[in-house]
């Protein structure tokens, strides 16, 4: 059973006992992500995340390594548009150490100038590694095209010019602005005693002062009024297509019919960002797989409908098979989308989609780490009730709701189309001379 407590400084603590393995997973979530960055500081939240592994007042830089490892544990963190999070999973006797680390991270980060400078090139290397992948590069361009005003438009890793210009003071200022207990949730799942966890959380975090939070950016993305297109012409060996539509946030009741629609189009990927990387969706009988992969137009197709705090985009991606023009892939894809916008899905598709989503709920909550992620993720973006009520909400989705969602979302004026149309390469990775 999930138990919630709030410390006097505003820190939310969520504890769930799971006695299936002698493990505990601790996650500390902050309600800050790349949507909270202002122009010129894109990428700051992600860079701050990196800096928060570089030592604290009471964990010297050279002693960061080993604290969790001595308990066989793993640790990590990630940043996305709405959130930044840190985790440790280790044997349960590491619980107090894990809480200590997270309290230190919240209050006592060092941000040594040399470490800030060294990490600049690490992050630019991470950015370049992503740019090496044409699919990832196109994704970034499509999102930037679909949004004109809202900060969801810039990539979480940031634009390179901003990463080159940012200073240590920018990083530390952002850290001090947002890393406060009244902007955080601490989630503990595992072979633990809830009362003891709450006592230890109070011990480690109770003295960290709350702070008045800065006002958030309030930009609302204006309604899209016509199709947008972006075409990347760079050297490469494969062609990629992405089609994006603005969609409601997870707060909106229309999000659930859209999940069902996505399952019917490309297969249910589930809702766990942390675990969904492990297992592709069941999709061979879906509409877009049959129309694109089944007919040899694409080697892969996928859909990405993520639960987000504010309205984001639903992105359908396809990789054209060698020799297939992107125009043919796009035409086939849009035919299918137009058909579902006109006629909705069938009762059989509704049943299958719900079955898939329910199975994924089981599969993606198979470890203390995954369960803790889901509790913290939804608490951060919408409230944990969204997670605990998910099965009920999916069960209630009707054919009519899916048809309405498809009709409203899958319009030309709500669409952004992206092509990565490769220029031919010679053996050295140079563009072949067209002459």
């Amino acid at each position: 059973m999930l138990r919630r407590a709030t410390l006097d400084n505003g820190l939310t603590v969520l504890v769930q006992e799971e006695h299936t393995a002698p493990l505990a997973s601790v996650w500390c979530w902050y309600k800050v992500g790349s949507k909270d960055e202002r122009p010129g500081l894109t990428g700051v939240s992600h860079w701050v995340e990196h800096m928060n592994f570089k030592g604290t007042t009471n964990i010297p830089r050279d002693q960061v390594k080993g604290i969790i490892e001595q308990f066989g544990g793993s640790w990590n963190g990630y940043t996305w548009i709405d959130q930044t999070t840190y985790l440790e999973t280790a044997t349960k006797d590491a619980l107090d150490r894990m809480l200590f680390i997270e309290a230190e991270r919240m209050a006592n980060g060092l941000y040594h100038p040399d470490d800030c400078e060294s990490e600049r090139s690490v992050i630019i290397s991470e950015l370049h590694g992503g740019e090496n992948d044409p699919d990832q590069f196109l994704d970034q361009e499509v999102v930037a095209t679909a949004f004109k005003a809202h900060p969801y438009r810039h990539p979480t890793i940031g634009w390179q010019a901003d990463l080159e210009a940012m200073t240590r003071d920018d990083l530390y200022g952002f850290y001090r602005q947002w890393y406060v207990p009244n902007n955080a949730s601490l989630v503990i799942v595992g072979d633990v005693d809830t009362d003891e966890v709450l006592r230890r959380a109070e011990h480690h975090f109770g003295s960290i002062p709350a702070k008045l939070l800065s006002p958030r950016q309030t930009t609302v993305e204006p309604e899209q009024t016509g199709e947008r297109r972006v075409t990347i012409r760079k050297p490469g060996t494969a062609a990629y297509l992405k089609v994006a539509y603005h969609v409601p946030s997870v707060h909106d009741p229309r999000f659930y019919p859209l999940l069902v629609l996505d399952a019917a189009l490309t297969g249910a990927y589930g809702l766990n960002l942390w675990s969904s990387f492990r297992m592709p969706p069941p999709q061979r009988s879906t509409r877009l797989y049959r129309a694109l992969v089944g007919k040899g137009l694409a080697s892969a197709v996928s859909g990405s409908l993520m639960p987000t705090q504010l309205p984001f985009v639903y992105i359908i991606s396809a990789t054209a098979t060698a020799g297939t023009p992107l125009s043919a892939v796009e035409a086939a894809l849009l035919d299918e989308l137009n058909a579902v916008a006109r006629g909705g899905i069938t009762p059989g598709e509704l049943t299958k989609a719900k079955s898939q989503l329910n199975a994924r709920l089981v599969f993606e909550n198979d470890s203390v780490t995954n369960i803790a992620h889901q509790i913290g993720y939804f608490e951060t973006i919408a409230g944990v009730d969204v997670f605990t009520n998910f099965r009920t909400r999916i069960a209630a989705v009707t054919l009519e709701e899916v048809a309405d969602a498809a009709r409203q979302m899958l319009t030309e004026s709500n669409r952004t189309v992206g092509w990565f149309d490769p220029l031919p390469l010679d053996r050295g990775g140079n563009v072949e001379d067209a002459a």
């Binding site: 400078e117 370049h128 090496n132 050297p235 297992m279 299958k352 898939q356 199975a359 198979d366």
Partner: protein, 420 residues
């Protein structure tokens, strides 16, 4: 800390299929992991990539089910079936709800025993594989690693071949050729089935007996093992990929077989060198101290034949020479001065105490049991492995570094926007 003890139920069917079943109750689900000793090592010499292509088409029709039937059977249950090919194993892996276990095992039996390999499906899957090969050509990480393996394992050694094959080979493979390969390589004597999840081991065994018990096919010939001549000099190959934002660096050696007595010493040595925490000594130097790369690590893949130790890093073109020099320096220091006792103890403690995490999920348990069965490590391996690690001395770990690593015998490949 009390170590976990899996104690799976192990049985052998009359036809030779080995069954390992472990009951867990974490979730109402079960992972099925079926491994057949028919990996890419079984590719015909003139058709590298044949087993890989077979893996792409084998689940697209059987003598009693169409591709659509199979798709529906999987999708309605929320199952994504993974069919993968490694050097030695052809694997079918999926997780299903426990209530679907019987039906899914029946489906897997059909796919494994009686694939129809329809020509239409084969044509479509060829298009997918060729597209993947084209994508690999534009991927610096793949290019660097595959080229390094070709250098470390020259022909005819199978570890040096691209498991996906080549466009020419894939285009020319026929249904009959794949069917013959399936007939020659798929047999109960080389099959291990692991189930891990909320299914009673007795129920698991009876389901497998029902589906596979009457499968009678003679044992296949064992694929040949190859003798390896380790590198005797330093080699370096640069692959210019001027359209890329940064380069991938692959640096490596051939090492040992999994059953080599040195294995545990080498495992610990590699862990301290390129795995521990933020990737051991390599990560400390290249990422943490010098800020040159987002990743820098090493892997040890001891296998049936002598596997590689690979060092990998992603670095900007401007830092390539510095990165190579830094790796050289770390290799040299490791060989000349060895690890410290603390480094060895830290890695040892981590590996022992990490076992509960590795064995927390059904998929993790199933994978672990397949590995222990494949390398004949014994049903009590999870209980014995802490002592095997504790028995390694600092001298043994350092001797492993001295034996397998040398700056003068390193093979290096750089793929990316770089030309010397």
């Amino acid at each position: 800390m009390t170590q976990p003890s899996l104690v799976p139920a192990r049985s052998t069917l009359d036809n030779g299929i080995v069954v390992l079943a472990k009951r867990t109750r974490t979730t109402p689900a079960v992972t099925i992991n079926i491994a057949i000793n028919a990996g890419s090592i079984c590719d015909p010499p003139d058709a590298p990539g044949a087993m890989y292509l077979l893996s792409k088409v084998i689940d697209r029709g059987t003598t009693t089910r169409s591709a659509d039937d199979i798709a529906e059977a999987l999708d309605i249950r929320g199952i994504s079936l993974g069919v993968t090919v490694t050097r030695h194993l052809f694997s079918f892996i999926c997780t299903c709800l426990a209530d679907d276990f019987q039906d899914v095992m029946t489906l897997l039996g059909d796919i494994i025993r009686t694939p129809s390999l329809p020509d239409a499906q084969l044509g479509t899957r060829k298009g997918e594989v060729i597209t993947m090969l084209r994508q690999d050509e534009d991927n610096p990480g793949v290019r660097a690693t595959e080229s390094l393996m070709e250098l470390l394992y020259p022909r005819p050694h199978p570890y040096g071949r691209r498991s996906k094959g080549t466009v020419d080979v894939i285009e020319n493979l026929t249904r009959d050729r794949l069917a013959a390969l399936h007939a020659a390589r798929f047999a109960p004597s080389v099959v291990t089935i692991v189930t891990a999840g909320d299914v009673d081991p007795g129920e698991s065994l009876s389901a497998i007996e029902r589906v596979f018990g009457d499968w009678k096919v003679p044992p296949p010939h064992s694929p040949p093992l190859f003798h390896l001549t380790p590198a005797t000099s330093r080699r370096r190959v640069d692959i210019p990929m001027m359209n890329k934002a940064q380069a991938d660096l692959a640096y490596g050696y051939t090492t040992m077989r999994r059953n080599d007595p040195d294995y545990y010493a080498c495992w610990l040595m590699n862990h301290a060198f390129g795995q521990y925490s933020m990737s051991g000594r390599l990560g400390d130097s290249i990422r943490e101290r010098q800020g040159m790369a987002y990743y820098a690590y090493s892997t040890l893949d001891a296998n049936i034949m002598e596997g590689p130790l690979l060092i990998r890093a992603g670095v900007s073109a401007a830092n390539i020479d510095r990165a190579v020099a830094s790796i050289d320096e770390e290799v040299h220091k490791l060989v000349a001065d060895g690890l410290t006792q603390k480094e060895l103890d830290d890695s040892r403690r981590f590996l022992i105490y990490a076992m509960p995490r590795a064995l927390e999920t059904n998929a993790g348990i199933a994978n672990y049991l397949q590995t222990t069965e494949f390398f004949e490590l014994g049903l009590d391996y999870d209980v014995r492995v802490p002592d095997l690690l504790r028995a390694v001395t600092l001298e043994q770990a350092n001797a492993a570094a001295h034996k397998y690593l040398s700056v003068d015998r390193a093979t290096i490949v750089i793929a990316g926007p770089y030309q010397r």
